[in-house]
Symmetry: C2
Subunit: 259 residues, 2 copies
Amino acid sequence: MYRYKITFAYDGANFSGFQIQPHKRTVEQVLKNAVNKIAKNPDPEISVIGSGRTDAGVHALNQVAHFDIPYKLSNESMRKALNSILPLDILIKKAELVDSDFHARFSAHRKTYRYRVDQGEFVDPFKRNYTSHYKIPVDVELMRKASQDFIGEHDFTSFVASGSQAKSNVRTVYDIQIRRDPANNEVVFDFTGNGFLYNQIRIMVAFLLEIGSKQRPVDDVKRVLAAKDRTQARMTAPANGLYLVEVDYGSTDKNIDEQ
Amino acid sequence: MYRYKITFAYDGANFSGFQIQPHKRTVEQVLKNAVNKIAKNPDPEISVIGSGRTDAGVHALNQVAHFDIPYKLSNESMRKALNSILPLDILIKKAELVDSDFHARFSAHRKTYRYRVDQGEFVDPFKRNYTSHYKIPVDVELMRKASQDFIGEHDFTSFVASGSQAKSNVRTVYDIQIRRDPANNEVVFDFTGNGFLYNQIRIMVAFLLEIGSKQRPVDDVKRVLAAKDRTQARMTAPANGLYLVEVDYGSTDKNIDEQ
């Protein structure tokens, strides 16, 4: 068997998330169908292992997965073969033959997610699936200041959705960048960490927006992290503004992502 | 009865075009449903008259329509009432009470359409519904030069699709702008005229792309216009790159649009 790592983008608008579910169109299912077609439908079927799940409506610029296949193709032939089968809302950007100890999920050691917030007065029909909409003007400086309290290793119990199956809520956030994109009238958040809990980024974004619009004090992140109580950070920003930007395999640290 | 002019944007991806058709989701039908709901479902139903049709997949930034309704609302109340009913892929940008001699189609005297062409190596999943894809590099200067031969009053018989019901194929093109959008790796065409025939812009774009990629000589527009023969300009660029940008009612010239 040959193990391939694939790096791919998808528009999450018409997918019921990454993970296979009965009777739903999911990214994992569509990829699995394509890989098995290339492998001439072997029994048992080939599985595709993603770096982590994404929810319905969440997008990816560079998601990563791996699979084992009994045929050896050049990287370029594998990329082309997959793209020729896949629908237009998934694009394989890279396919690489890798060592059999590479694992898309366990070998990942950091991930970067982006969250786009449109500040227009109305929901732009062309952005309805690609940004969330928050028309209250926000103070980016305030949010930057507050976001620094998320940096480092913390127990994110206050910032995880109830469906999480994580054994531990301790995660490390390495970096948060927040910038205005004036051309698109957006505020864009980039989060890098060793892994994120279920809905953690969407809850952190909603929290920062409350700080940016002065509905919470700038030092509220510290208090709510310490509280370890999900009811303290009530809101979750919608899925449609979230993008998995990058999965980094530069070290052998374990990835513990659940986003 | 009170006549309202509405200016609105729509993402054409999930519409079977503008015009009402049985069992299809169309812009006209969705608007008509909303207007009749506001008017408490009168019998006979209120009609919504657009400035012109757009095909399935074609978008609008500022389409215009009018309707007559027995209730007088402030412009702002009318805009809000419609937006509160309409789905998120249509946005009413403006509603204006107008004189009863205003007619969205017959009062229009010029229209501007945009066509976006992505030059990336692959189809970007996030652009699949919003640009056409043409990966052969094109020479914008050559296309600009060629496009000048479309300016003015011409018989566009060579540049109209076979489904056209126009009595005359004579139209006036006032302006064509072609520019690179390097940030998005796109070439963007803007066409302004007194009206465009069925598929005229998409056929002109495909023709200009053939010139830009040196598959036709730069002076071929003149020859093909003179031929008055649709088989000379064979290709039609896809619907998904086309946007109705503006309908101008500044004069009383008749609009004769069929795009």
